[in-house]
Amino acid sequence: MLVAGDSEVYGIALLTLKVALVATLVSCAIGLPLGYFLATRRFWGRRAALTVVNTALAFPTVVVGLLLYGLLSRRGPLGGLGWLYTWQAIVVGDVLLALPIAAALSAAAIQGVDARIRRTAQTLGAGAWRTAWTVSREARFALAAVITAAFGQVVAEVGAAMIVGGNIRGSTRTLTTAVALYTSQGDFGLALALGLILLIMALLVNIALQVLQGRGEPGVGGAGGTHA
């Protein structure tokens, strides 16, 4: 079926890839700056904010799906968008699940960068954005792992996608919801084939991220004081 180029299967795979890439992009676009902010700024309530973000890591996907269903349903506050049972709804659910991963893990990654890097960038005249870029470059391997983890979360997500996407054939059926469906129908061969596509997809994305990271270079050693 895979070799023959079944159009339905490729449609499912393409939708899965589209949803995963958009959700990863959005969650990282919000989560990485949020993680940097949490790691480098001292403000009242910072510890509480970190606790909330870390707790959100363990948020059950079906609960997120349920809450989002309430929001997007016709009588919900966001019902006017008409996104329920669309791929956009799956993206929103995936973003909600991947955002804590992106924020919490990137905060940890940035905290792992020697504080002297940030001070050195500042003292050489870097503004806030350039300083953030310099610090992030130092943590790029860890941040690439964060992006990989976020992608892993959204590409493997099934609970929320099932609830807010509806697993509609030709419309919102993703690889994970399809695997769940075909398994429940007893079509293990098809479910396995789709699972294999999912694995290949994850592998290719990981390889692409590793290529983007470029050549490795040892980090800065020694104690560098605290992040100011």
């Binding site: 050195t120 960038a121 050489l124 005249g125 270079e217």
Partner: protein, 333 residues
């Protein structure tokens, strides 16, 4: 040019810097000396606008620096930390970092980098990365990187701590050349008094986060007992007589110029008379005379004498000497 006023800076509730006033005059070559933990690095970070004082103000050119102006002033005041770090990339990329931030044209950039590279002997290192450099080389690159952005004020925290003699000389020569070429204000934190005397126009001593009222030799952390008048305070293997009403933790300072040096104990009013052996002699410093270091019961004391007096007494390492000073000469802060 730079001034700290009414500074009380705390880390984790602990007071680490307590300064009424600290001024770095324009064009000065200033050294801040003190033991490890004296507060030198904290002082430099405040001067570099990298830390915000818990209490007090930082002034630049006589005006209080508001928080929103700190980032722009960092382009004029650059700090090289005690254990500097290089960014990911080659030495050349590190040297270009600050220049690119200033939108320096490529031709001008090459000229500036060529200049600092030549002054600090970095040409063989240009294409190396940080993990291919020794600590001393990293220090030199960090100083070159700071010099390349041509700051008005250069703050250096123990800049030669990892350097050998030749590298240290190259660094000081590079600084001297830069200061000869333009109005560069330099403030260096160091625990090496000899180095400070060699190049600095003026020296400030820092101990326990406070400025010493006198020169930085002979500073001792003590715990003063209760009572008035003359107190005898144990410092290492000797008891120092001091006139003070203060009690509790304090720093004693004995100005080297207030110590009499003799070969035999003298019959004087001095309450502090210690005998020991000369451990070292320094060359004559600018206006500071010859510094004679002697081991007095496990405590090193430094006395300042004229070159003529040193010759008359035939002072040399190993020779037995007597140091005398009055209890009132000992300053407490």
């Amino acid at each position: 040019m730079l001034e700290l006023r009414g500074i009380r800076h705390r880390y984790g509730g602990r007071l680490v810097l307590d300064l009424e006033q600290f001024i770095v005059p324009r064009g000065a070559s200033l050294a801040v000396v003190g033991h490890n933990g004296a507060g030198k690095s904290t002082l430099l970070r405040l001067l570099a606008f990298l830390d915000t004082p818990t209490e007090g103000q930082v002034l630049f050119s006589g005006a209080v620096v508001p928080p929103h102006a700190r980032a722009s002033l960092r382009r004029r005041v650059t700090l090289v930390e005690q254990r500097p770090v290089l960014f990911r990339g080659t030495v050349r990329e590190n040297l270009e970092y600050g220049l690119k931030l200033r939108d320096t044209a490529r031709t001008a950039m090459n000229g500036i980098i060529g200049d600092v590279v030549e002054r600090l002997g970095l040409a063989p290192l240009l294409n190396r990365r940080r993990h291919e450099l020794s600590d001393g080389e990293v220090q030199r690159v960090a100083v070159a990187r700071a010099l390349a952005v041509r700051p008005d004020v250069l703050l250096l925290d123990e800049p030669v701590s990892s350097a050998d003699r030749a590298a240290a000389n190259a660094l000081y020569q590079a600084l001297a050349a830069e200061r000869a070429a333009r109005a560069l204000t330099v403030c260096i934190a160091s625990h090496q008094l000899e180095e400070a005397y060699r190049w600095a126009d003026s020296i400030r001593a820092l101990a326990e986060g406070r400025l010493s009222p006198v020169t930085p030799e002979n500073l001792f952390r003590v715990d003063l007992p209760t009572g008035d008048g003359t107190k005898h305070v144990r410092v290492g293997g000797i008891d120092i007589a001091v006139m003070t009403d203060r009690t509790g933790p304090a720093v004693l300072a004995v100005p080297p110029t207030d110590i009499f040096v003799s070969l035999q104990p003298l019959s004087t009013s001095a309450r502090n008379v210690f005998s020991g052996r000369v451990t070292g002699m320094s060359i004559e410093h600018r206006g500071a005379g010859v510094h004679v270091r002697a081991d007095m019961g496990g405590v090193e004391l430094v006395a300042a004498v004229t070159a003529e007096a040193a010759r008359d007494l035939a002072l040399a390492p190993g020779k037995t000497v007597v140091f005398s000073f009055k209890a009132t000469a000992v300053q407490v802060f």
